[in-house]
Symmetry: C2
């Protein structure tokens, strides 16, 4: 029997909250008798939902607060004036050692700011990054940073490489994931200063990273490497471009398959195959991004997801805790420190 | 009857050259009796191809050279030592006023370097950009820069906005295309310095641009705007990410529709619809990127395309010449100059 772990949940974050949150817990608790959920939020809204979800009710405790972080709250304003919000109290619960992970579908900027201030950085890491997994032609892969840091120097990128590698070992069950740096060409001469210098460090140092070299935008879909490292500006745009392209494809495929009677008939016959195809790309299967680099496991769910998507985000957090993600990352960060990458940064 | 125009063609550039080049000319000349092609390259290889393409033969003159730009030539080396290459001589032909446009499927870096040195920049423009059109859920759109400039300041981005707008009017037949700046969020506070400053200039100035504001990666597929402006690092990665995602989708769709006997049967019934779907995304339909900002119309074809794709690149060049693209862009550049954006740059 596994030791029980406690998950702090922002009950009020996300477009579908608290319905999607309680629904997600209800799905997860069925196969996770060893997980306890502390749900922060408005008791008057949460209680009736738990009444209709008896499984979740048995696995949950509610911590009442009626303060919430709004979607349009600026991160600095949220930090200052949302100290009793469901999001903040859930993060505080991890900092206090009461919970092992926090999951929120709320305002990304506010979550980032609060989690960074409250949980603090892991030693050897300058900035947190956002990391998630997604499908490729090959196996799933992970990419970071997806938007936490608009500009990144080579030291940030190398730290992301180390953290992404540990994340891929955990989340994708790989023993030695390959790591690529996103660039505009595969030759060493291409790219901006940061990626060129980061590549030089990753090639020459004895970091515990299997460095593949540069990869290009089309390598994301190909699945050329297991971990894609980039700055938050490029990573955010690449991820959203991929999502937009996937939606465009689905849109045109649907249009084509409903355009004529014979097309509709064909689609009906091929329906099970088309459903498998659709399910493979279901964004809910990939919901749950980690704010990596913090002294605590903080998971951001997509704000627009439903109970199935929120359940997946909860699973991401639970799995990372079960596999001692933070301990593994600290081991590898020891190598960063002995490689003096921390010292380089401190000198900046 | 239209006045005859002359197109300079790099007969030896691209993986399929010279076969795809002559094949492309053969396709175009059927509907373009008013276009004459000057093909630069190895006569011994070109002549036999023309013998089997009588249409192309009637529309072509060959200018012999046996020097070529190799795919792995560095731009600086190509500039120095490939002065009699098929690519260089074709560009020279535009500079000499003998041809109205140059089309090449060869080495992008070399083409960029040679065209910039030989044709020179349009007055008011600091750097050329690569621009092309592609499909969205909505109408086709154009994006620039796709890789010519790794780092861009706000003046570069504003110049790209003006040039992209003129390109969209020509290539997409729009009267007033909307222009968006690619960013990691739609709020004014997000993004790096260059995009924030460029947005401020585009909002406040009286440039002839219908500025939409910031767009995100998923707006590319949605077709939120007609013109997407970004730096060459981000643009290159976004375009290739979209291409990679499209390939991944096609791969899984094909797998699904051949996975079982009923799936195959359904696909067979829906075949005409699936073929229309495939044709809509055929990359050959979108082949032909322009090196915009030069004092001449220079078109880069994808290196791996076939005759159909090369024909499309030729059409892009011919259409831009027919519509006096360079004159239109000069008019709008007058506004840039009167807005002192040129002066700002000169002071840098």
């Amino acid at each position: 029997m596994l030791e029980t772990i406690t998950v702090a949940v922002d009950g009020m974050g996300g477009d579908g909250a608290p319905f999607s949150v309680i629904g997600g817990i209800d799905l997860v608790c069925k196969s996770r008798p060893d997980v306890h959920f502390l749900v922060f939020g408005d008791e008057a809204k949460l209680r009736p939902l738990l009444a209709s979800h008896p499984g979740a009710k048995a696995a949950c405790d509610i911590r009442h607060t009626d303060e919430i972080v709004a979607n349009d709250d600026k991160p600095t304003a949220a930090l200052r004036s949302r100290k009793n919000s469901s999001m903040r109290l859930a993060i505080d619960s991890v900092a206090a050692g009461e919970s092992s992970t926090i999951v929120s579908a709320g305002n990304t900027g506010a979550l980032m700011a609060m989690a960074t201030i409250v949980l603090k950085m892991l030693p050897g890491i300058n900035r947190p990054a956002i990391v998630t997994s997604f499908p490729t032609e090959n196996n799933d892969c992970v990419m970071l940073d997806l938007g936490a840091n608009i500009e990144c120097d080579e030291v940030n990128l190398v730290q992301f490489a180390v953290m992404g590698e540990v994340f891929a070992r955990n989340e994708l069950n790989l023993t030695q994931p390959s790591v690529g740096l996103l660039n505009v060409g595969s030759e060493g001469l291409k790219g901006n200063d940061s990626v060129k210098k980061a590549a030089a460090i990753l090639e020459s140092s004895n970091l515990p990273v299997k460095f593949y070299g540069f990869v290009e935008g089309d390598d994301i879909g190909k699945g050329t490497v297991d971990v894609i490292v980039t700055d938050g500006f490029t990573g955010n745009i690449a991820l959203k471009t991929a999502e937009g392209t996937a939606k465009m494809f689905t849109h045109f495929l649907k249009n084509s398959l409903t355009s004529t009677l014979t097309a509709k008939l064909g689609a009906l016959v091929a329906r099970p195959a088309l459903e498998r195809f659709r399910d493979h790309f279901d964004p809910r299967r990939y919901n749950g991004a980690m704010l990596v680099g913090l002294n605590g496991v903080c998971i951001k769910s997509h704000g627009g997801t439903d109970a199935i998507g929120f359940a997946h985000a909860l699973e991401v957090g639970i799995n990372l805790v079960r596999r001692n993600f933070n301990e593994l990352i600290k081991e590898d960060l020891g190598c960063l420190i002995s490689n003096k990458l921390e010292a380089q940064t401190a000198a900046k």
